[in-house]
Amino acid sequence: MGRVEVTLTVNGVRHAIDVDTRMSLLDTVRERLALTGSKKGCDQGQCGACTMLVDGRRVVSCLQLAIAADGREVTTIEGIADRDRLHPVQQAFVDLDGYQCGYCTPGQICSAVAVLQEYSDGWPSAVTAADEPAALDEVEIRERMSGNLCRCGAYAGIVAAVGRAAEA
């Protein structure tokens, strides 16, 4: 009943994939493209472990139907680095212990990469004062990263890493 073909460009590579309409982008990327860096945590849009960039914007891929992403450009954690050279956000997570068990880390890093872009595009957050572009300080980072939960509680390292990457 619900088989469809979708075309997704994932980390720069174009794929035509036959999927069930019910498949999320997360399951499609993990199960059909064997890119298992993106993690399934809650599968309800609440934890952020599945965060990817779709057309450059961060989304929770567990609530994104693959068919509804037809034709879009997707970046997963596997596509964040420049070949062997880590992205500044990845390097900062390594240097500042931005994780413990690592399960939430791919989502944290994809989300943080988008946070830096949103910030440089002048997007305010709920804690940004009315008429000034606040510095990306701890309060701003905690608010902007609130869609990514870490059950180990490595938030101190995560906040420090995002702050370091923002300075890079």
Partner: protein, 329 residues
Amino acid sequence: MKEFTYVRPAAVIEAVTLRAGRPGSRYLAGGTNLVDLMKIGVEQPDELIDVTGLGMDRIETTLDAGLRIGAAVSNSDLAVHPAVRQDFAALSQAILSGASGQLRNMATVGGNLLQRTRCAYFADISLPCNKRNPGSGCPALAGEHHNHAILGWSEHCVATHPSDMVVALMAYDATVEAHTPSGPVRIPISDFYRPVADTPHLETTLPEHALITGVTVPPAPPASSRYRKVRERASFAFATGSVAAALTVRAGAVHAVRIALGGAASHPWRASTAEAALLGEPATEDSFAKAAAAELAEARPLPHNQYKVALLRDLIVAVLGDLAVEAGA
């Protein structure tokens, strides 16, 4: 999840025709609420009609300095739009205080208007719920209801509407635009949500099969506006109580005021009683407290949500106080 087919119409009228011809179909936009509900069986459509490619993704400033917002505009794009931030600050603040950065990128204005309640009984298909299964009962009344409504509820349903955005749209007197099989309709937001009564499963006055195409907002009142939200953690949680307000003060007295409440009622709640009580009164904390008390006089809290009466009273007084300071009163 139940199997479904997926279609991507190219025009609004085509989408509406498809919807009308297939009773089990649903419109799909960002999917942040619908796909979630499909996973847990609360929604079981047999067809999804994707409405994200219909040109409803623009924000326009109207000639009179109001706004026309396409239904498929993402929450993020609306919140960060320069005209919204400058002239409709409470709208930008309300959206930014909701959900997470990821969800705001996906979620749309039309979907936000039609968000379903986050009542835990609604989300559990093994339990009764009058909103999901009319006539089956409301376990929240005698059960877990600390996040539920104190205003406007009935013995059939005590759930709240979870939107932040709509609370601000209420204060700005927005109008919902939709397309039906027989043509376009416009519904003032004050008429958009139905009283719960004995039909909690009927949430809005949208005609059958109608597709929301956009929202218009009249020019902002010449006033400071603000949205303030209280929740159980600092970010990424639904409101236990929230206030959107705009205040104009002249010669120390309230010249114009608008107040809307979130997390308080079965739908975003315009505090008309408080507004009427404030007109012409001194713009002082004493007046604000009396007006808040007048609005909340009709509150009917349950055992676990009595705290909301004081919380909403204090929120109204604090937000109006801040706006009065901004207005130099």
